[in-house]
């Protein structure tokens, strides 16, 4: 499917908003006005946004990963970022307009790496049983390739031809461990052959390339032709989490590598492409950037005005614990 101009503009706008929300959290945590932890992902926006924005139906299922705490996925699925922003500041967003995460098939992010594989398998079973051509998009980082849950889940999905698209966002680092020392082959996509499953390796800095590869895999899934694996090569620009050492094992990570990847920033690449192809003018791009800045400032203001996230009493915990 050839994308229309407004779709291309949407890709750009979503990536810019994702970057700016990422930056808001980095600033808030480092300045001490937010507690907790944050796993930033600047430079990786093209993967989630390229994959999810135009390839998913409302009733599809999505397992995002933890980087940028899934804000790119949230925006790509048309979910308001108000809840996302407020929860980071331990604020109660109140009633938020638009669909909830559950209504867009997002049920959470596992606190354990690789915990998403078996759950995605379950959603694949649901999709197949429902018989409505739903698809599951299940993301994981390169580090998760070490988990046995990957093997068990990919094998069963392949045996049963479940409509799952496994998408590896290979940013080349686990917490402090480079994937070159954690995986025996160059491409994680190679494991697909062991499950008799098609695979592709794509440039994770190219939002259109990601979109196109995932589109093919999603169509296969909906047609009942089973799962696929797509590996998107990207690069983690910051440390695993804000405030933790940014190292390769124990030594600082290569500045040379970072500089090379910085030149391949997915937002800059796509912006230049849009201008070069005369889809947008430089002025129009600046306008989108400015709108994103305003929106993020507005969200920050909104969370500051929201009450803290403490319910009036602890009895609510019983409601959380068990369903009736």
């Amino acid at each position: 499917m050839k994308l229309e101009k407004d779709q291309l503009v949407k890709f750009y706008s979503l990536m810019v908003r994702t970057r700016k929300l990422d930056n808001l959290m980095i600033e808030a945590l480092n300045s001490g006005r937010m507690a907790g932890f944050y796993h930033a992902g600047p430079g990786e926006e093209a993967v989630g946004i390229g994959a999810c924005t135009f390839n998913m139906r409302d009733d599809d299922y999505l397992y995002p990963h933890h980087r940028s705490h899934a804000i790119g996925f949230t925006l790509a699925r048309g979910i308001s970022p108000k809840g996302w922003v407020c929860r980071h500041f331990d604020k109660n967003p109140g009633e938020v307009e638009g669909p909830t995460a559950e209504e867009r098939g997002i049920f959470g992010i596992s606190g354990t790496i690789g915990g998403g594989f078996p759950l995605s398998l379950g959603w694949g079973i649901t999709a197949k049983k429902n018989g409505k051509n739903q698809a599951v998009l299940s993301f994981f980082g390169d580090g998760a390739s070490g988990r046995g849950t990957l093997h068990e889940s990919m094998n069963m999905a392949a045996i049963w031809k479940l409509p799952i698209v496994w998408i590896c966002e290979n940013n080349q680092f686990g917490q402090f461990m480079p994937i070159k020392d954690a995986f025996a082959r160059e491409d994680i996509a190679d494991i697909a052959a062991g499950y008799n499953m098609p695979s592709a390796v794509v440039d994770g800095q190219d939002v259109l390339a990601v979109h196109e590869a995932v589109e093919v895999a999603v169509q296969k899934a909906r047609a009942g032709d089973g799962p696929s694996l797509i590996e998107c090569k990207t690069y983690r620009m910051r440390g695993h989490a804000e405030g933790v050492p940014d190292v390769d094992h124990v030594d600082p990570r290569s500045e040379k590598d970072k500089e090379a990847w910085r030149k391949r920033d997915p937002i800059v690449l796509f912006k230049e492409n849009l201008i070069k192809q005369r889809i947008l003018t430089a002025e129009e791009v600046s306008k989108i950037d400015k709108e994103a800045d305003d929106e993020v400032a507005e969200l920050d203001k909104y969370q500051q005005e929201c009450p803290v996230m403490v319910p009036s009493d602890a009895s609510i915990l019983d409601v959380f614990l068990y369903a009736e």
Partner: protein
């Protein structure tokens, strides 16, 4: 009423619920054949899409069950041996037990994790455990342990209909035991203890196989001591009120549990008796459980698993 075996009762409950609700399905290793018979024959009636045989992949079985439960189905995941559930603890103790809570009650996870537990068959350390304490210890997941065919059927039907994660552990040594159940449909609610035998001198709390030991001992000792046997049937939720009420009457309590003694179910129940009925106790509460060793194979298991004589000794100890 009709007579039925314990394992047939489980199979009957599964068949009835599969028939009643098309969202129910079973998933596990070799369940079409059914290693212990609990799922045997179901595939003939319900087909392989609802009685799903899997590779040896416990984490995927458990996680897939949780995922499908979140999205509208009511899976029963079978792990064959309770010992094998350890492999899938992230899926069972985190995903199934915590995701509703983590997401503030926006999710329902109606999943049953079933497995055969228990010793007395000489099967060794990794095929004989009764690991009830892990589930009892973890907030957000229920755990039931049937001791009779009646309870086995009624608890399974309630577990499947419950909108939460329920661990259903049935005892391997009871598979062929028989009992009467009604011809018509019935349920055994979760969280309701059953007084298996009335008495006035000692409250004896026991689950699973230990209930059978207790019943024999109570009969054997009836001329000396009147034993009241309470089977909690579900350990979470735990019907502590029925236990406390009995202790208020008898003034003495023995708690029996096949799981390892240290931090086990007997430990928790005993402490709750002490907290809630201390003033009624005429003697310290006695605990009988597996000793703090792995379960040895063959005849050596008698050194570790609770024996009828241990229960008799405990009853005599509280009687003074």
């Amino acid at each position: 009423m009709k007579e039925i075996t314990y394992v047939q009762a489980i199979a009957e409950a599964l068949a009835e619920e599969l028939e009643r609700d098309e969202k129910v399905f079973c998933i596990g290793e070799d369940i079409q054949t059914g290693t212990f018979g609990a799922t045997a024959g179901l595939v003939k009636k319900f087909g392989p899409d609802r009685i799903m045989d899997t590779p040896i992949s416990e984490t995927a079985i458990a996680g897939a069950a949780v995922g499908s439960a979140m999205t509208g189905y009511r899976p029963v995941a079978d792990f064959m041996f309770a010992d094998f559930m350890y492999i899938a603890f992230d899926e069972i103790l985190c995903k199934a037990a915590k995701w509703r809570f983590m997401h503030e009650g926006t999710q329902q996870i109606p999943v049953v994790f079933m497995a055969a537990m228990g010793g007395y068959l000489g099967l060794g350390a990794e095929h004989s455990q009764s690991p009830v304490s892990y589930y009892m210890h973890t907030p957000g997941i229920k755990v039931v342990v049937p001791s009779t065919p009646y309870d086995a059927k009624g608890l399974m039907k309630s577990a499947i209909r419950d909108n939460n994660a329920v661990v259903y552990l049935y005892h391997k040594a009871l598979l062929g035991s028989t009992g009467e159940i009604p011809e018509e449909e019935y349920l055994v609610p979760l969280g309701q203890a059953d007084i298996k035998r009335e008495g006035k001198d000692v409250t004896l709390v026991a689950t699973g196989m230990q209930v059978q030991f207790a019943l024999n001992i109570a009969e054997q000792m009836k001329d000396k001591v009147s034993i009241e046997i309470i089977d909690p049937r579900s350990l979470e939720p735990l019907d502590i009120d029925t236990i406390v009420k009995s202790v208020e009457k008898t003034g003495r309590a023995v708690v029996v549990d096949e799981d390892t003694s240290r931090c086990g179910a007997a430990c928790e129940i005993s402490m709750q008796i002490v907290e809630k009925a201390f003033d009624y106790l005429d003697a310290p509460v006695q605990r009988v459980a597996a000793k703090n060793y792995p379960i040895p194979p063959g005849a050596m298991e008698k050194f570790v698993l609770p024996q009828p004589q241990d229960i008799i000794d405990a009853v005599e100890a509280v009687m003074g």
